[in-house]
């Protein structure tokens, strides 16, 4: 019984690290650009598909894809910011939400047309194949790698934003872009790069997810709602909140799957409702 429970908690932590990675990108984009990036799920799916296309059509392996796919999606994200999102700056963030939501629908529709719904299989890279028996559960090596890699990326991003000069510029840019520009900082470029970075994070999560799930056009929309709930619970725009809540909700979901599997699909939203009742700005959020 306790063994099974430990297994569930570990699985919850693994899923939580996916949530953390995805919600981190969302939180960065919202925190710095004030854009509710509904295209995040599509960017995650794009990352997975680029990895799959690379492997199937060009023979490019997992490790290259882990860098190349996020880079490509990041560049694409920068183009989207440059050409579309920039025009909406200063408007209500509802406009950005609608724009990115529309983009996500278009991208998903195109992929659905091209690849169908059942998706395609992406094999676990040979170096990370197999599983270890921990006594209380069998842990696939690849899943362990997912936890380590996501935590490293989350921690790294958090350090950059909170502890470096670049991060300080970014934070200042959200408070008062005009003043920062007066100091000679290229604020529009900074926004472009930030959006690109957020998109790249989503694509990174997508490549990480490819060997675990089927690579399907719907993989983004399946996860995006939960990830938004994570960001809302953590506090919109709070980097630390996104990471901590992502992991926490993964654990909560794992627990629910063990104790009462039927509600595991809704437990995140129950948590969201409760948190919003008690702390409307989210667990780590500041009232704006």
């Amino acid at each position: 019984m306790t063994q099974a429970l430990f297994g569930q908690l570990l699985v919850g932590l693994i899923n939580g690290s996916f949530y953390a990675l995805l919600s981190l990108g969302l939180a960065i984009i919202f925190g710095l650009l004030d854009v509710v990036n509904f295209a995040h799920g599509a960017q995650y799916m794009l990352g997975a598909y680029l990895a799959w296309m690379g492997l199937t059509w060009l023979g490019v392996g997992y490790w290259v894809a882990l860098l190349a796919a996020p880079a490509a999606v990041g560049l694409l994200g920068m183009a989207v910011e440059r050409l579309l999102l920039r025009r909406l700056r200063g408007l209500d963030n509802l406009y950005g939400l609608l724009l990115t939501f529309g983009l996500a629908l278009v991208v998903e529709g195109l992929f659905r047309q091209a690849f169908g719904i059942s998706g395609n299989a992406y094999p676990v890279p040979p170096q990370l194949a197999g599983a270890r028996n921990l006594g209380f559960m069998v842990l696939p090596v690849y899943r362990a790698w997912v936890v380590v890699a996501s935590l490293a990326v989350c921690l790294g991003s958090w350090l950059v934003i909170e502890k470096t000069r670049l991060g300080a510029y970014l934070r200042a840019g959200t408070e008062n872009p005009a003043l920062l520009q007066a100091f000679g900082v290229n604020v529009p470029l900074m926004f472009t790069v930030t959006y690109g970075f957020g998109a790249a994070l989503a694509a990174f999560a997508g490549v990480m997810a490819a060997p675990v799930y089927q690579v399907t056009p719907l993989m983004g929309s399946q996860v995006i709602i939960v990830v938004f709930a994570v960001v809302v619970i953590g506090g919109m725009g709070s980097i630390l909140g996104a990471i901590v809540t992502g992991l926490g909700l993964g654990l909560l979901e794992g627990l629910a799957k063990f104790l009462w599997p039927e509600v595991s699909g809704t437990v995140v939203f129950v948590a969201m409702a409760l948190v919003l009742l008690l702390r409307p700005a989210g667990l780590f959020g500041r009232q704006r």
Binding site: Q3, A4, G7, Q8, V11, G12, I14, N15, R112, G116, I117, S118, G119, N120, A121, P123, V124, A131, N133, M137, V138, P140, Y142, R143, V212, Y213, Q214, T216, L218, M219, Q222, V223, G254, K257, F258, P261, E262, S264, G265, T266
Partner: protein, 400 residues
Amino acid sequence: MVRTLAAALSLALLPLAAAAAGISDGVVKIGVLTDMTGAYSDLAGPGSVAAAQMAAEDFGGKVAGKPIVIVSADHQNKADVASNVARRWFDQEQVDAVADLVSSSTALAVMPVAASKKRITLLSGPGSDPITGDKCTPYNVHYTYDTYALAHGTGSAVVAEGGKSWFFITADYVFGRTLEEDTASVVKAAGGKVLGAVRAPFPTADFSSYLLQAQSSGAQIVGLANAGADTVNSIKQAHEFGLTPKQSLAGLLVFLSDIHSLGLEAAQGLYLTTAFYWDRDDESRKWAQRFFQRTKRMPTMVHAGVYSEVTHYLKAIQAAGTDDADAVMRKMKDAPVNDFFARNGRIGPDGLHRHDMYLARVKAPKDSKKPWDYYQILETIPADKAFPPLSASKCPLAKK
């Protein structure tokens, strides 16, 4: 006076005469209501629409001298959407029959609407047995497979191979639950036991928690009472968590499209029950090739079922000379079905189409010689073994 009376009488009789013979509004309209974009859109969806169109074309586009029109809509796997579309089709667009209705919840929602308006439902996608059990209607045909057939085919074969203890991972809605119940009773009847079950919300992407519970149950067989993308993800993740080869998987509803997307590496060795396999004989290959040219995919049993049921429906209209639902249903239930899809098929008074089913095993990659060469057919399950006997039916219509 006499003339007025005669005119009144003939006016009164006119609608009756029109209903008794001929095509009610000059056109036979068949609506394919299916999942066009969601979890079941590869196994049914656009392929089902293509199959219905092929059936209409093969009929020359006309039946009883009137044109055949195929329309389609997406029910999104939602019961309320399905019944709304069906109501609109019946009330405003003169649709005579609704085909496919993949996912049991949508089928069970549309059937009573259709019955109340005397229109025909031709189910190819859904599986749960209440459809021809206590929820049956006189205007429904359940064509391709039901959970009983799936459970008996795979369940008894696996128990016979020595898989005595079972644990189920079940999609938490009517289809998954009836599939689990049916299989559990087959397993128990064959001397096996059921150690437990876990109900996963539908749809789910991550099955790791449920697989861990299956693992810790220690059961020899993990029965997957789910379908489509859920089945694909559970099989893929079961390999990841090392369930196999210590435990074996039994896919209770697996489609060709699932195997295609999983790849043989992950799917090999899986037992499954199917109503149709494209590479079974010359007839099925011939039709499948035509379907492939049109859709670039090989047909699933749902696609083949849609073609066959629409053809059977059109033949019944031809024979009856009318699209009146009562007359057409009588003809459909009278005539046996023997085509590239169904062998020894007969539609009972409960609406269930009983026909031969097939037990198959997924080939290993080295045994697959050509594209889409995935199944090895192990045995033919005759119609009377594959489907429940009429005497056991809970459908009131069966009691007459």
